[in-house]
Amino acid sequence: MIYPYIPHTDEDRKQMLDAIGMDSFDDLYKDLSEDLLLGESVPISQGRTEDEVIRMITSIAQRNVKGIPFLGCGCYDHIIPSTVEAIASLPSFVTAYTPYQAEMSQGILQAIYEFQSMVCEITGMDVSNASLYDGANAIVEAASTSLSAKRRSTTILVSPTIHPFSLQVLHTWAMGTNRTITLLPEKNGLCDFSSLEDYLNDDVGSLIVQTPNRYGFLEDYTAIADLVHAKGALFAISSDLLSLGMQKSPAEWGADIAVGDTQSLGLPLAFGGPACGYMAVTKELMRKIPGRIVGASVDGQGRRGYTLTLQAREQHIKREHATSNVCSNQALSALMTTVHLSSLGWSGMEEATKQSYIKAHYLAYHLAQLPGVTLLWDSPFWCEFPLVFSDQKKMRKFIQELRNEGIFAGVRLGALTRDSKDEMVLLVAVTEKRSREELELYLAAARRVMN
């Protein structure tokens, strides 16, 4: 009997069973009553050889249709330096576990320490953890952290312009608990803070906002932090980490918590996962932050080294009193972001945000000239903008004709929110990776359809 990935020979099996005084494999399962032991093997297919699996998976993958993606909504097609995949495929990184044994895991620990440092630098916050699942779950953790930081609070004030999926994930978190999600009003595609003070009662643990928001707009949080803090609540801002290469950082807005996703920094689209949530907080919240944290220390000889730290917050110590249930995170994705940022440096990060900005505005400007479409509101945006169609049939034709040119024209916002008011809205994302030719191809096809 030869099974993949099991090294035992018949002789091994015999010798080992003999050693432990058993006659057969059945003896290994003597603690299972007979009605628990499966007579037949589970009804899945027989094993396949590597060559068969290569053919099968390659052919399945080819059933996907590739195109030039002008798709965003939380997952963006940015340039990734070749260093990222080269490093992130090194086996000592890939096949390691969480670095519990610091002495033999200095490489991973140091890389995480560098990740934390970069997140702190970019967000301007004091303390970052080692990563979370994704941007939506980072918002959930921000909400949890807020409620545990402000005693007796149960309400999270949320901007209506956060990503529709983040909002759904947050609603799931609240469902069946004493937590309340209260949405602020929306105005011109931006969170409307004009009545914020009315919402800020003692129940409120935090205000959570997002910029660039669900439409791609950049929001202005001038004076918001002071208002929120005056009521003893926390202020959390969610951002695509890359966007902070251009827009004001959470720390500059006076936020207590910065969350979001690092997907734009080194992670491929990959059908949406693995992504990489991040979370960074002020010093005051250091012992409230969820997830793994790496810190520097010294050994007996005074040599600098890195280790998991502040573990008293965590589930394996504090169990039900932990700040979160997080155990596995997205360490390898965090490594990819770390290599990406190491390769770009600050000037590269600025360049990526700037080119995305200019290219997105180039496309928006020319699309806005066309009949039958307008830009939904004229709020400032970075690399993604909402185009509204006057006619649903035209919108379908637009998407289809561009598809025929090998272009994914944008994301229908209505498909995410399933809200009729969003049905005519197409969110178009443009990154620094889209070449001039691709932009012109888009515009030419758009003109053919709309003119």
């Binding site: 099968m56 993958a61 000592s92 576990y97 608990t177 693995p274 589930q315 979160s324 249930n325 200019i358």
Partner: protein, 483 residues
């Protein structure tokens, strides 16, 4: 050798990467109004300015200061550090997967949906469950998702009073933490002398406020809960649900199903049982599988196979909603699917049987040297106690663990479960050969013997690593968390 921080190698103006020059009509850029200054960032972030070679060397050197399954035996209990097939790594990186956007129209992502649908079918068969969700990104995330469904189920049923979740004292820490995250009150169930669920204690805690009992079986002592059918009927009679923590599925996969044991729902750890790599701490994947009565509560969207191919189904009215931004850690799902395709039904059964064989063989070889507090045999893992070393020689479980590092092994899990003093929890997995097990156990016994005679040596272990044991108290008291 130690490696400086990359920022310490930074030099103003050095670049590892250059972007293509902006190629728009020159007039456009200058005509474009910039953002209102109130929205603009004021400060620069301090990131490394280095060359491409600096980046490559820095992280390559860091990789040599790390240790994975590819480097050697990694018998970390409850973590199932089995071999991660190279073919999975290769195929998951196919451009036809990595360049696909999650919000493309479903007609253009039939490959991705096919992987997910077929993986769900196979996981249903393997667990005996009806269907599930692939959205959770990790085991704990699966627990959270599963318990949220439990909550939704009882709310729908009008049993909002059920606000308690029972967990055995030996449970993984994530169990109570995930329950707490869902607003449940946690009640701990004692273990009996054999290390199993104390049935009397369980009975005393079962009432109509209990929503669920969370159990991993085999439990964290590596013992099969023999009374599982009794436990199941007790919990169900009390109106509660039985939740299976799939962290230890590698003991029974293909040989028995959680479904037959009476579990109503469970999560799996694809990065344990299904051989996807741990990545230094993630990404993992924690699908939740349920019996049919819980199916309406699954997170959305579901995937359906229709005449026109695979499509999303968002319609489930009782769905708890989404738990991840998109569809989960898709590339991890691809790897798990490949593993299942490779192994097939007989292979999966063989995996767990051989995992149990390996653990029992190691247990057998170690029991002359170490105290085995519970059980004479085990399932896929077992726990030894170093208490006698501690008491007689002042040698702790940690000391012995650190001794292994110098011999090129990753130590077992330390000090868990807390039931056992000076615990080392050992899980060899089926990937390791008899020869490796013999060498590992010989080494461990050798370390234990030497430790008795040479306390100074063992307290100083490891000796061969770039740093020795770190001052963890200092790391907490004077947190140094970024550069």
């Amino acid at each position: 050798m130690s490696e400086p921080l990359l920022i310490e190698l930074s030099k103003k103006g050095r670049k590892a990467y250059c972007f293509p020059a902006l190629d728009l009509p020159r007039g456009f850029e200058s005509a474009l109004p910039s953002l209102p200054s109130s929205l603009l960032r004021q400060t620069k972030a301090r990131l490394p300015e280095v060359s491409e070679l600096d980046v490559v060397r820095h992280f390559t050197r860091l990789s040599t200061l790390s240790f994975g399954v590819d480097n050697g035996c990694y018998p970390l209990g409850s973590c199932t550090m089995k071999y991660n097939p190279k073919i999975s790594e290769k195929l998951a990186m196919l451009e036809d997967f990595t360049t696909i956007h999650p919000l493309q129209d479903s007609s253009t992502v039939q490959g991705c949906l096919s992987v997910m649908y077929n993986l769900l079918e196979d996981l249903s068969s393997i667990t005996g469950m009806s269907w599930g969700t692939l959205q959770p990104c990790a085991g704990a995330h699966g627990e959270y998702t599963g318990l949220k469904m439990v909550r939704a189920y009882f709310l729908k049923k009008g049993e909002a009073r059920r606000n308690k979740v029972l967990v055995p004292v030996s449970a993984h820490g994530t169990n109570p933490a995930s329950a707490a995250l869902n607003g449940f009150t946690i009640v701990t169930v004692a273990s009996d002398d054999e290390g199993l669920v104390d049935i009397d204690d369980l009975k005393s805690k079962l009432d109509d406020s209990v929503a669920a009992f969370m159990l991993t079986n085999p439990n964290t002592l590596g013992l099969f809960e023999k009374n599982i059918l009794l436990i199941s009927s007790l919990v169900h009679e009390a109106g509660g649900l039985l939740y299976y923590d799939g962290a230890n599925l590698n003991a029974i996969m293909g040989n028995a199903t959680p479904s037959d044991m009476g579990f109503d729902l469970l999560h799996l750890n694809l990065h344990k049982t299904f051989a996807t790599p741990h990545g230094g701490g993630g990404p993992g994947s924690g699908p939740v599988m349920v019996k049919s009565f819980l199916r309406p509560f699954l997170p959305g969207p579901d995937i359906e196979l229709t005449d026109s191919g695979y499509t999303y189904n968002w319609l489930a009215s009782d769905s708890i909603g989404k738990v991840s931004m998109f569809w989960g850690n898709f590339l991890v799902l691809v790897k798990a699917y490949i593993y299942i395709l490779r192994m097939g039904s007989e292979g999966l059964r063989a995996a767990s049987s051989h995992a149990v064989l390996n653990a029992n063989y190691m247990l057998h070889r170690l029991k002359g040297t170490f105290e085995i507090p519970y059980g004479d045999t085990c399932m896929h893992e077992f726990v030894i106690s170093c208490q006698n070393f501690k008491q007689e020689y002042g040698v702790s479980a940690e000391d012995i663990a650190k001794g292994l590092i110098d011999s090129g092994y990753h130590p077992p899990t330390m000090y868990f479960p807390s039931l056992v003093h000076e615990a080392l929890m050992i899980e060899p997995t089926e990937s390791e050969s008899k020869e490796t097990l013999d060498e590992f156990t010989d080494t461990l016994i050798g370390i234990a013997e030497r430790a008795k005679k040479d306390p100074q040596w063992i307290h100083g272990c490891p000796w061969t690593t770039p740093v020795g044991r770190l001052d963890t108290a200092k790391a907490v008291k004077e947190p140094d968390l970024h550069y």
